[in-house]
């Protein structure tokens, strides 16, 4: 009977491929499954009565309140063209050096990621602004598209990040459950703030490796990223500084207050969003039309995220009612090789699911099932969270269904072949996997900063 739960999961994956909105597919398929199973006496329908209580729990989740606030902040930065200014002035400054344009794209991507980090917005902005410039200056198409896609996904891993907020919420519940189930009343709790701190070094490592890759490519094949011949472009330092200042300020307000523990992520998100609004007004970039675009985009993204959460909560009720959790526990406990095998399997499964599912679905559907088991095997929650986050970030880049690739395809010139984009991201996927491996071998990369910030 327990295998019904796995059958349901498989059916949902198939149904999802049809392409109807994920939230409703998750909820609808689960509901149909529960109904059919109940007809055969294989499902206790009283599980379903917990649904309204669960929705109400979602309505009152204070941690997740950070989601619309961060989205709002990102939307303001995008619509107020703060990113655009930064990109243009950095490009002017660095295009004189071989590989300089690619490196400035990476650095701008990092700065945007550290101020908020909506992947779609970053990739689209850079795809519209930098891609034509890079191609005009003779950059290799694959290299250019690869750099843009990869740096665009940095927003996922470099805090503040919505992915980390969602993961933090799921993991803190899982961690508490795991510790108590073990009878180990270890005082540690894991919060969104811990994950933010844990993601800083791996995020920076990614940036460093991206840049290292660009430098090596430029050195080996200078024709792939030539220096600009035009001397006419005079760089005004004043313009650069004024372009750099807003994101740097927001970054220090948001990240600073979270990492020092002075504000909860939700509070910091609110202050950051307000700050972005003030900056946009000061720069006279915020028209009523732009504001409405910001608000409507925030509304749509929030609805999208929370509807998936509601759909996933119905899924998990039915999954539990069908005995799925017990089944997964059994499978993992019988694995030879213990925690290492279990971790590798989970990471591979997440990586593979990443080809078809979004990070939100994976976070809400898969992580709550597997995380408590892994944590009970003694894994560090911050380390596990960062491993999952880097893994999910990679799924944005993996062809054919990586979202970053879709966004870039959407704005890139038709003359650029999709295959060139795929080829371009391959080295970056490799870098992601190297960082995953580094994290596996040196967990301190993720745990050192939170351990020292919050001893």
């Amino acid at each position: 009977m327990e295998y019904l739960a796995l059958l349901m999961f498989a059916c949902i994956c198939l149904m999802l491929l049809i392409g109807y909105p994920v939230a409703l597919t998750l909820a609808g398929t689960s509901l149909l499954f529960a109904g059919v199973a109940a007809l055969f006496g294989a499902f206790d329908t009283s599980y379903l009565s917990a649904f309204p209580s669960r929705i109400y729990g979602i309505l009152n989740n204070q941690t997740l309140l950070a989601v619309p606030l961060f989205v709002f902040m990102g939307a303001v930065l995008e619509k107020a063209q703060i990113a655009e200014k930064l990109l243009t002035s950095m490009a002017q400054l660095f295009s004189r050096f071989p590989g300089g344009l690619a490196i400035s794209v990476t650095i701008v991507g990092m700065l945007l990621a550290a101020s908020t980090g909506i992947v779609g917005a970053t990739v689209v902005t850079m795809g519209l602004l930098s891609l034509p410039t890079m191609l005009k200056r003779g950059y290799d198409t694959s290299l250019s598209t690869g750099v843009i896609c990869a740096t665009g996904t940095l927003g996922q891993i470099i805090p503040p990040s919505i992915a980390l907020v969602l993961l933090g919420d799921v993991l803190s519940n899982a961690y508490q459950r795991a510790q108590l189930d073990m009878g180990n009343f270890n005082p540690d709790t894991v919060s969104v703030g811990d994950l933010f701190a844990g993601a800083v070094l791996p995020g920076l490592l990614l940036v460093v490796l991206y840049i290292a890759y660009i430098v090596i490519v430029t050195w080996v094949k200078p024709e792939m990223a030539p220096a600009s011949q035009q001397d006419s472009e005079k760089v005004s330092w004043r313009v650069l500084v004024s372009a750099l200042l807003p994101p740097l300020m927001l970054m220090s307000i948001v990240l600073g207050s979270i990492l020092t523990g002075y504000a909860t992520p939700t509070e910091a998100a609110g202050v950051g969003a307000f700050g972005a609004l003030v900056l946009a007004i000061l720069q006279k970039q915020l028209t009523l039309v732009a504001l409405q675009a910001v608000m409507q985009s925030t509304l749509k993204i929030s609805s999208m995220v929370f509807m998936i959460l509601i759909g996933a909560s119905l899924f998990s009720l039915v999954f539990r009612g069908l005995g799925g959790e017990t089944l997964i526990h059994g499978i993992f406990n019988d694995l030879p090789g213990g925690v290492i095998t279990a971790t590798i399997i989970v990471m591979v499964v997440i990586f593979l699911l990443g080809f078809i599912l979004d990070f939100i679905e994976i976070t809400f559907v898969v992580i709550p099932i597997v995380a408590p088991i892994l944590l009970m095997m003694g894994l560090d929650p911050v380390w596990l969270g960062i491993m999952i986050a880097v893994n999910l970030q990679t799924s944005f880049l993996t062809p054919p269904f990586g979202f970053a690739l879709f966004y870039l395809r959407g704005v890139a010139d038709k003359s650029i072949k999709t295959l060139q984009i795929y080829k371009g991201v391959l080295p970056f996927i490799l870098i992601q996997l190297i960082v995953l491996l580094a994290l596996a071998l040196f967990p301190q990369l993720a745990t050192w900063l939170p351990d020292n910030l919050y001893p």
Partner: protein, 345 residues
Amino acid sequence: ACGEKDVAATNDVAPQKTYKWKLVTSWPKNFPGLGKGPEKFAKYVNDMSNGRLTIEVFGAGQLVPGFQVFDEVSTGGAQMGHSGAYYWKGKAPAASFFAAVPFGMNAQETNAWLHYGGGIELWRELYKPFGIIPMAGGNTGVQFAGWFNKEIKTIEDIDGLKMRIGGIGGEVFKRAGGVPVNMPGGEIFSSLQSGALDASEWVGPYNDNAFGFYKAAKYYYSSGWQEPQATLEFLINEQAFNALPADLQEIVTVAARAVNQDMLDEYTARNANALKTLVNQHNVQVRTFPEPVMAELKKLSSAVIADMAKQDPMVAKVWESYQSFYQDIRQYHKISEQAYYENRQ
């Protein structure tokens, strides 16, 4: 006498009906103290009924979020719940009085009021419209006033103090000039560390030690004026209970009563040990509020409760019963328990 006839005779008896219940709680599964209560209850019932009534316990969030226990039992999604009545203040203001009353009775006295002073009857009356039968389901004993990063020397020190504190105690704290802050459990710790919170109350040494508060706050204040005891509750869906045969109903009732006492015993034993650990190993500084601070808080408590009684007739009714029992027991305990506490020093 061969066995054949006996076998036939037992075969004639219809197989006894078995029941499977769900019990949802407001605590994480296996949470020290609080979470152990429902686990023990389920085991007692299963053993005593020889498996005829089996109860599956769900931690907070496994089936429903911790604060949704009441709704879930009321609508019958789960047959039972384990929680604390002060969480239902928004549904029935009088509920708080069955959990904890600032400067009210201690555990021994509260149990006496509930079971021999008319308390449980009022409690049943209160939950009747929701289709729920309440039973006392454990007690933490006297709690601690909380973890503070600022010393409290006068009542003015409470002014502007940001503290996580709920229940009637939260209202009192607010009137004393404090700022009650609402915050998810997972964020209390880091907020105390960073100064986003100045103080937080939790339970007592046993639970607080496990939560690691000593890493985030300097002073540990006793005694818990806001919760001189805290009664936990079993919530039972009325229809489900009435559908049980009489013997199973009795088993449920007795098991609840056993857990009610058992939890108090466990807290009493473990609190003492945990406080030793906190003081000796973690160098926690234990403090008490000065007399005038306590006197002021007591005055404010009476005012808050009087206001609550004015606004809600059921509060007035419960408070009257509570108070009249309290007056008598206080007089009696002054010359018995209290006198003995002083004598034995």
